[in-house]
Each structure stands twice: as structure tokens, then as C-alpha cells.
Symmetry: C2
Subunit: 172 residues, 2 copies
């Protein structure tokens, strides 16, 4: 199945000049959604992954079914103030200023094998913060997976040293 046919491109969203990759058209298509999760699962299965970590909010939509498909737990990384228990936090850069990502301090046990999943790898700033957060929490990152990678933004270089996989590649 050519999953790119299921992605809707929206020009100038959220700001002028951005060619936004809308994955909702893929998600709502039952065959395409199953195919995407199964393709991810094929890569991550048999790697002994204990938990899949997904950042809020689109990382939940792909990370949680992947966790289910490979028999792992799911750990959400959330924006500041959303998690109810003791948290660890890591700042990440926004266009202007920065914000914090949080994870429950007891979400990952020391030495657990972790896969990080998000919808999109662009410049890699968010995922770099998620990686630092997981490692601070004692997790061992097995691999990092994305539905879409924007190759010309070279996010992959920012997280070199990690095993990175993406299902679909676009230049920008």
C-alpha cells in the first residue's frame, strides 16, 4: 500500500511556507491505519521493547497502538502540568522561547528498553528533548520511529547515534 496517497498535504499551515503533512486522512482509513501500525510493528517487534514512549499529542495516536501491537507498555510524554504525579522535565525550543516536556519520574524502570514514536521528524528538536528525558529517567533507547521524515531538515543528524526509522520520507 502506498501510504503517501493517504496523507493530505496542506499548504501554508500552520504558517505560510509550511507544507503540512496531514495524517488524519491516513488514520481514518481502516486499511491504511492498520497497514501503518503493522509496518511499524514489523520493525519494532522482537527487539525486546518494554515500553513505547510517545510525546503529546500525535505521538499518542501512533505510539499507543504500536505498543499494543508489539506487547509493550505505553508511556506518555506530556506538556507541562498535565501529569498528576511526580515528574521529570526537559525544556525544548519553540520558535520563540521554550517550553517543558514532562514524564512521570517512575514511568520507566532503570534499564528498560524503550522505543520512542512520533508522527513527524522535522528538525529533531522535540525528539532530542524526549531522548534526554528518557535517558535521565534510566531508560535505554533501542530505537526511534516516525511515520514521516522531512529529510532536508536533517533531524536525523541531530539524533545520530540512535537507531532511527521512518515509514515515509518527504524532502520538506
Amino acid at each position: 500500500m502506498d501510504l503517501k496517497e493517504k496523507i493530505r498535504i496542506i499548504e501554508d499551515f500552520p504558517i505560510e511556507g509550511i507544507s503540512f503533512k496531514d495524517i488524519t486522512t491516513l488514520l481514518q482509513d481502516k486499511e491504511a491505519f492498520k497497514y501503518a501500525v503493522d509496518s511499524m510493528a514489523e520493525y519494532f517487534r522482537d527487539k525486546g521493547i518494554d515500553v513505547v514512549v510517545g510525546p503529546e499529542a500525535r505521538g499518542f495516536i501512533l505510539g499507543a497502538p504500536l505498543a499494543y501491537a508489539i506487547g509493550a507498555g505505553f508511556v506518555p510524554v506530556r506538556k507541562k502540568g498535565k501529569l498528576p504525579y511526580d515528574t521529570m522535565s526537559m525544556s525544548y525550543d519553540l520558535e520563540y522561547g521554550s517550553d517543558d516536556l514532562e514524564i512521570h519520574a517512575d514511568a520507566i524502570k532503570k534499564g528498560q528498553r524503550v522505543a520512542i514514536i512520533d508522527d513527524l521528524l522535522a528538525t529533531g528538536g522535540t525528539i532530542e528533548s524526549v531522548i534526554k528525558l528518557i535517558e535521565s529517567a534510566g531508560g535505554e533507547i533501542d530505537s526511534v520511529g516516525f511515520l514521516i521524515e522531512l529529510t532536508e531538515l536533517k533531524g536525523r543528524d541531530r539524533i545520530s547515534g540512535y537507531d532511527v526509522v521512518s515509514l515515509l520520507q518527504y524532502k520538506v
Copy 2:
């Protein structure tokens, strides 16, 4: 498996007097997460569900794996301004004032059978808005499922006329 043992109760979060049900301890436990999704799937399978709808953000964590497990598509309901394409919106009440929930206008085809999934049924205000949104979009609601129901808040009465199921019940 007694899933209640996997839920962490946090008193006075997010405000004094609330006994918050933290589901992250369940999600991160691979056996408990699988058991919860499978238990939901058992109820929703064989009902001819075309799409599972989950509201941002915890509804994504349960709705997406359920959709995958029963072979349905997944449609996110999001907070205002997050969806990139043409949307329909419905306001919902907050403690002070209101906010809007949105769905892509073309997310649901007329007559599609829909299951709505969220983590928690409390007073039912949010889910009532989600129901209205789905019906405005032309979807036929088969059933509404929750991981947790706070029975004394009587959210179920607010959405009577719909088939409502919850895995775990607490008084408040």
C-alpha cells in the same frame, strides 16, 4: 486481572477535593495495557464499527489501539486550532466559560458506524459535545466506551439513549 490495582489514586489533583484516577500506571504495564485494550475490543468487535473517535488527549491513548485492535479507522477530536483542514466545532463547558472541540469536516462519511472512546466518564459534558459533533458530521453512534466511570457523577444519565460501557467503576 484486577485493573483497579493498576490505577494510581492521587488526592487533590488537579484541585482540592478531587480524587484523581491516574491511568499512566496501567498504560506503562504491558500486561495491564494489553488486557485493558483487549477487554474493550471484546465489547466493540463484531459490531461493524467503521471508525473509533477519541477526544484529545487521553482519548487518543485508548481509542487508537482499540481502533487498531478491531480493524477500524481512528478519528481524533481536538481542541480548537489544532486540526489543519476544514473543521466542524462544538463548544463544551469548562468550570468557567467554555471552549471548542473540533473534528475534520470530512473525517466521517455519512452513515459510518462510530464508537467513541475516552478514558473517563465524569459528568459527561465533554462526551455529550463529542456526540453532537459526530452526529452533525453524519456519523451513527454505535456505542460509547470508557476505561473508568465515576458512577455518582451520573454522566451516564446525560448520554442516555446511547449504549455506554465502562471497564472500571468508582463512586467518585
